[in-house]
């Protein structure tokens, strides 16, 4: 498949403070004791998309991520790591690596996507319609805030309910409108001329743009070149392509080039169109073709390009790790209802208890828990619906519920931890009580302290 994949892995996302740190950039945040990036790369590998560029913000983070990838995916994947400056946005990142892009189509995936939707299906949809853009849409996750236990750092998470507004054609194949971010706060303005061409548009607010896009390379590069103010794929590039699909400025240039090369090329282009029509099983031409033909039947008097949508089925799992709430939810889901994300991986890890942990007497570890290797738990502890990383030392009479504990954490006797995230190398002294807290890497909570709904981190130097 002539597809190149760009994984936008990100770097030190502000949203996820204090979970991310220098040592653990966002792509390496653990989800069920694996870096979140693992899930995307694994899915890509499964779909036989093996030509990857992983884009990481910041040189240091890139080194860390590169190290991890070369350790983990020794076989199969051909991965390049590219470091880009921080805060240049997703479109900026693509612009920076634009010269690496050579394939006909480019699949851009966000590195924080935890999903079981095969990226190959998105790529296939893209190819079938010969689209300039194909976006993957999935249903808005219904889990999440419903569970009261996992509410750590709620102040930071954006209120759910504001997702995307997406317009689809009646067959749900084409993307006619997309509004994200701030535009949603206002009344939506839909372009009439697209509506005129299609006749009816279904407007959905229960779909989420999963940030997995397939682009035609020529289209993508032109947009990036021409619109140098575009910073974000999701908010600028994709809406732009969708908006201008019947008045394409992108392919316009492509065709004028073809015209320079003489009619021969043009006819081959038409042939291509025909072939794609046959491929698309199009007994009737799509509205794009009708629109471009319309006025007097002469073909291609108007330039159009297609924007398609791939809508993941309701049963599939698809969440982005872009907030702390999402981090909690994903960790819970991957160990619970979405455990197939883990079980079909190469390791035969039991999703209830990891290998070789040392459990003290009368300690219970409930279902939907993961204990990393080398962790030790003392006597009479309780662990419920939680993930505990590697090499943690947990004392006696400790209760851990609905929480994520990362690696090398020391928890003293009699601690009670609920709905919290404990980062690497944290030390909780005896009888600490944490409820809905975030504890940043290397923090030390002194004996007997109680915190509720707080974010604890070391001062940045």
């Amino acid at each position: 498949m002539d597809f190149q994949v760009v994984v936008l892995a990100g770097g030190n996302s502000k949203n996820l403070n204090p979970l991310v740190s220098k040592d653990v950039p966002k792509p390496l945040l653990p989800v069920a004791n694996r870096p979140v990036l693992y899930y995307v790369l694994h899915q890509l590998g499964q779909s036989n998309l093996k030509d990857l560029i992983v884009v990481v913000e910041g040189e240091d983070a890139a080194l860390l991520v590169g190290g991890w990838i070369s350790k983990t995916f020794v076989d199969g994947l051909h991965v390049e790591i590219a470091a880009v400056p921080e805060d240049i946005g997703t479109a900026g990142a693509l612009r920076a690596i634009s010269h690496h892009l050579t394939a006909k189509d480019i699949l851009v995936v966000s590195g924080d996507l935890v999903s079981d939707v095969p990226p190959g299906a998105v790529a296939a949809t893209h190819r079938r319609h010969d689209a300039a853009l194909t976006a993957m849409l999935c249903s808005v996750p219904v889990s999440g805030s419903s569970d009261s236990g996992s509410s750590g750092g709620k102040d930071k998470t954006k209120k759910s309910g504001r997702y995307n507004i997406i317009g689809l054609d009646p067959c749900k194949q084409f993307l006619l409108h997309i509004a994200t971010g701030y535009e949603i706060e206002k009344d939506s303005r839909l372009q009439k001329h697209i509506l005129h061409a299609v006749g009816q548009m279904e407007i959905r607010s229960d779909l989420m743009d999963a940030h997995m896009y397939a682009f035609k390379r020529s289209a993508l590069q032109e947009v990036l070149d021409q619109k140098d103010t575009f910073q974000s794929l999701k908010q600028d590039v994709v809406p732009y392509l969708v908006r201008s699909q019947l008045k394409s400025e992108v392919l316009l240039n492509g065709i004028s080039q073809a015209e320079e090369n003489g009619n021969e090329k043009l006819s081959s282009l038409n042939n291509q169109v025909l072939v794609y029509q046959i491929l698309a099983n199009a007994s009737t031409p799509s509205f794009h073709e009708r629109y471009s033909m319309e006025p007097d039947g002469s073909s291609q008097s108007r330039k159009t390009h297609k924007c398609c949508a791939y809508i993941a089925s309701n049963s599939s799992y698809c969440v982005r790790l872009n907030s702390i709430q999402a981090f909690m939810d994903i960790n819970r889901d991957v160990t619970g209802e979405a455990d197939h994300l883990l079980s079909d991986t190469s390791s035969d890890r039991d999703n209830i208890i990891g290998p070789s942990p040392k459990l003290g007497a009368k300690t219970t570890v409930g279902p939907q828990c993961i204990l990393g290797e080398g962790s030790e738990i003392g006597d009479k502890c309780q662990v419920k619906r939680s993930v505990i990383g590697r090499h943690c030392r947990i004392g006696s009479h400790v209760k851990i519920v609905n929480s994520v504990v990362m690696n090398h954490v020391t928890i003293g006797d009699g601690c009670i931890i609920q709905g919290s995230v404990i980062c690497n190398n944290v030390q909780l002294q005896e009888r600490v009580v944490l409820k809905d807290c975030l504890v940043g890497a290397g923090f030390v909570v002194t004996m007997g302290n109680e915190y509720k709904g707080e974010s604890l981190a070391r001062k940045e130097k």
Binding site: Y182, H193, E202, F230
Partner: protein, 723 residues
Amino acid sequence: MGAQKKSATPRVSEDPEDLARNPLQAILLADSFATTFRPITLERPKVLLPLVNIPMIDYTLAWLESAGVEEVFVFCCAHSKQVIDYLESSQWSSKPNFIVTTIESHNSISAGDALRLIYERNVIHGDFVLISGDTVSNMLLTEALQEHRERKKKDANAIMTMVVKQSKPSPITQQSRLGTDELFMAINPVTKQLLCYEDKAEYSKGFISLDKTLIADNPSIILHNDKQDCYIDICSQEVLSLFTDNFDYQHLRRHFVKGLLVDDIMGYKIFTHEIHSSYAARIDNFRSYDTISKDIIQRWTYPFVPDILSGSTAIKVERQGTYRASDVTVSRSADIGSFTFIGQGTKIGNDTKISHSVVGEGCTIGSNVTIEGCYIWNNVTIEDGCQLRHAIVCDGVIMKSGAVLQPGVILSFKVVVGQQFVVPAYSKVSLLQQPTHLDSDEELEYADNTSGTGEPGYKLNGDITPDLSETAYELGAGGVGYIWSVFEGVQDEEWRQSVAPIPTDKLIKLMLEKDEDDEQLTQDGNVFSASGELKADSDDNGSGDDDNEDSGDDYVFFEKEVEATFLRAVNENVKVDHAVLEVNALRLSYNMASVDCAGAIFYSMMKLAVESPHNSASELHKNAADIITKWQKLLKSFLHDIDEEIEVVLKFEEMCLESAREFAALFPQILHLLYDKEILQEDAILKWADEKEGADAADKVFLKHSEKFIQWLKEAEEEDEDE
């Protein structure tokens, strides 16, 4: 359920509990409260105009009868006497199981008035069908009624079901085949609830706006541009009382439907029922008259076609859709083409060609006449050598030899066209003079109709003829009649709703225009998004934007209302004083301060300026200047002190950052303009500058832009002080 069917109305299956229900009733409005059929409707009510030789109202009544309606209230207003006389003498007065009652009014000027009057009469006892007398349909009501009743049972607020039908408007003219403007409807695909109804969507050119609450409430909405409103409504009793409660509801769609959709206090809901294989359409203008006539001749409306409806007089359907009454005299050499109707007693001379036309009863058509796509009513005389293309010729017209009707001509009753005279395209000719007070504005149509109700007096055409002598030459030698002048501004649009097909050159012109529009749109779009990242920045700062949201939805609604009021004022040329009153009323009802008014009005003005077409910044500036100059009085009446003026500047700044970025470059110019027009005092501007002095750099962008101007102001002030 079959056993429980009521024998009298076999088509309407009813639940046992419904048996106690009243028979199905219908309200038929025999007055369209519009002027689209003038000058013909000055002399005869629209519902009695012949549609393929049968009065329109007969189609409607026949359908109501077949659809299981048992009692019809015919509401007549203009020319009520004629309607009543007709109904009394027709078959409808003597049907068993189908009672037609007329309700007469002389002072109703809108559908709203009509329904209020009917409510007072207290004759409607349950669900009813609301229809106007110019609707042709053959749909079965059963399913729609069933749906309506079931919904009503579950949700008492589901008070109306609207019938819609697939019909895609032409991509070029943006009007349906019935000549009506394009219609945007938002419908919930699951419940079929109507969420938005936009038939005049020109305010926001190029875009259609959907309220964010709709999107929040409905996970999926289908926005239709390909549906046609059939103007057949199944209503519950509440509809009538709603009209009485809201005495300002006039128009069924524009006021009532939209009113219900925006009103979320009462929570009334409107649903849609889509018909697929059956026919329903309303004659709204001359184009739909043409379209529907053709549909009838081509039998889409079966069983409501002339040969079946007319009953007694034998009409034969021949090959190629030619209808011929029994005693028609047609010369052997005459060529009667396809899809043509020839009425009883009509004589047609040698070598005459007729195609795609309707010729009524008792007409005399000479030799060598060409008739194409025309609607010729009864007792018309057409002498030799005339040529008629796409025209409507009413009763008793005489066309002298060699006269020519160009496409789109309307000849009203008893007009005489002189020899060899060529009636120019789209002319409307009548024996009656054009009413002098012309309301080109449709909104005022009902005001117009007050004169319509008094019209029967004119009807004696004979009396009027003498007055015509002086202008008789308008129609050539021996011609009688006035050619009505076309309203200014509407002239170019005449072809849109005419009987004649749209000329090709118009289509080409429109197409080119449309392309340009699109071009502009994409450009606008670019502006819109190119600064998207600018927006993102300001989001990060969490500045202006968020504060705005906090001030609550109320203000947003208020602003919207003010904007709508302002646009209406602009479009209808409402006097400034009236506009001030209206805005004041809004202010009171939303409990806003005049600061808010000033902000909202200014916002509307600027928005209008942005939305009116412009190609460059200087044109935009000119637009803005024009609007400001014209409406400065309105704005000023809310600028009582300096705080309000500052609010205007702040509002403007906000707009430049968000909704109308085109203005960003023009900020200092417009500020200067506002100062020149004495809308803003220099104190206000300086104070604003002071306030902004302390803000972040991002907030000071516009302050920087206008630095020069402010400097100038300061100096001017100092000079003043010096003196």
